[in-house]
Subunit: 310 residues, 2 copies
């Protein structure tokens, strides 16, 4: 079942006391740079450093006691790993993360610091899925997919819900698109509050499977992504493709050099550490046709400080 | 005249609508790392990116109309330059900044972006003072010294005033010490609110003139400072030496490697961009004898992102 607008509202209630109600930031320099008024939803300040904690928490706390006792498992090279680990830690249950070699160092460290059991594997989708299947067979853990999961999507949508409660009359909300969970959740959140905001996806030019799939009208997986936005290298799933086909208003692709410039601009203007995936959405702010009042979801801030893209 | 505790209260009223009431940040990771509960006053989010804007604003808006018409001038390689430029811009008066070659690039750019007139000079104190005297003779501008100035010191103290309004029962407040303006202002702010907090200075080991001066009982200027904390290379003035002798509870010196580690810790745990001078005070948190509840002033966030110390 695809999640509904009401599921976003339910998710907001489920996770209310477990997540940070993140601030919405303004900056005159960013406004001038983007050529519009910008409200930045600061999910890099979310627990675990990314919006992913919302969906992970919604999934973990929606489990029955019997399910929870089996623990949770996922495969992820990124923010979902740390988010699920922390959500499981909160609930006091086991978490196993299958993580490919080559994950961004602080993202690996985060999952470890939240006591997840890390299982390393080769950096291919096949190896990940095989390893995860083995973990599930071994431990009976409940799989929580990073985005192809109704409660994860509904949880992701709660960020836009909060943003629209604070700034109801936005013309558009820009969100980064990797697997499409945040974009899907945001598009149904807008419907839940009856806002007029358009939802605009932002994708790296070097991992533009969503733009190509939506243009073609069928799912085109991403192979060989080439982008510094390590959180956006994944492909849509049939579920997120279906949801974005129905609800996404438009999608913008951004070359990496613009992402790097946007990232540096946000760091220096706002003193906020955002990761490349978040900067993709900021860069997209300069590509909108119209829209005076725009929200953007700063999706995360987990960066390898020793390996910056400038 | 040295500023009094009441002058900090007056400054808070003068600058109230012109400065940001900056947030106070908490982080469990920082608490664990420091071994105590830490409240971080986020002056890197202040206008112009540093607490310096408080003192500059207090000085600029305390001028009579006749004085203001003459404009203001200063010599500074750092945050005071941008702060004074922005304060002058707010009031609609001219600002000239004498800036030595070798200033941190974004600090120079900030002063320029706020429309200051920049006069370059050799990077010696003598050259700075000579150039500034020439500017004052030429234009009749009112000099606003970066720290040896009663209203600048009183303005700097308003940060601690806000911090203590939010967290009244701190055991200590740690502040970085360069010229001693922030430490002086903080020490009288504590008296103004009748707080029991000790005021602890934090100085780079490679620019420890305040620690040496306070130990010796007389002013020992800093020559050849060697530290990455570009904001803390200056010497105390007779005024700040006098105030710190009377009011500062203790002073800690921090080697640069600890400053770099503290800076990286704050960036990764809180996603906040703080500059090395601010990180000196964070590093000092691990050197306190006692004190369970500690405030620290994150003095600024103006960093050259292309030239990070790790």
């Amino acid at each position: 079942m695809d999640p509904t607008p009401a599921d976003v509202r339910i998710a907001a209630l489920v996770i209310e006391r477990l997540v940070h109600h993140t601030p919405v930031l303004r900056s005159r320099r960013i406004d001038a740079w983007a050529g519009r008024n910008v409200w930045m939803k600061a999910e890099h300040l979310q627990r675990s450093g990314a919006f992913k904690f919302r969906g992970a928490t919604n999934a973990v706390w929606s489990l029955s006691e019997a399910e929870a006792r089996r623990g949770v498992a996922t495969h992820s090279s990124g923010n979902h790993a740390g988010a699920l680990a922390l959500a499981a830690y909160d609930r006091g249950i086991r978490c196993t993360v299958v993580m490919p070699a080559g994950a961004v160092a602080p993202k690996r460290a985060a999952a470890k610091s939240y006591r997840a059991n890390i299982v390393e594997c080769e950096p291919t989708l096949e190896a990940r899925e095989r390893s995860l299947a083995a973990v599930v067979a071994d431990t009976g853990a409940v799989e929580v997919h990073p985005y192809d999961h109704a409660r994860v999507i509904a949880g992701a949508g709660t960020s836009a819900l909060e943003l629209l409660e604070e700034v109801p009359d936005l013309d558009a909300i820009v969100v980064p698109v990797g697997g499409g969970g945040l974009a899907s959740g945001t598009s149904i959140a807008v419907k839940e509050v009856g806002a007029r905001a358009r939802v605009v996806g932002a994708e790296p030019a070097g991992a533009d499977d969503a733009a190509r799939s939506l243009a073609a009208g069928h799912l085109l997986p991403q192979d060989r992504p080439e982008t510094i936005a390590d959180g956006l290298r994944t492909s849509l799933s049939p579920r997120t493709f279906r949801m974005l086909s129905a609800h996404l208003d438009s999608i913008v692709t951004v070359p990496d050099d613009e992402t790097v410039a946007a990232m540096a601009m946000v760091w220096s203007a706002t003193k906020q550490v955002i990761e490349p995936s978040a900067a993709v959405a900021v860069a997209a702010l300069r590509h909108l046709d119209s829209a005076e009042k725009v929200g953007v979801i700063l999706s995360g801030g987990n960066v390898d400080l020793r390996n910056l893209p400038w």
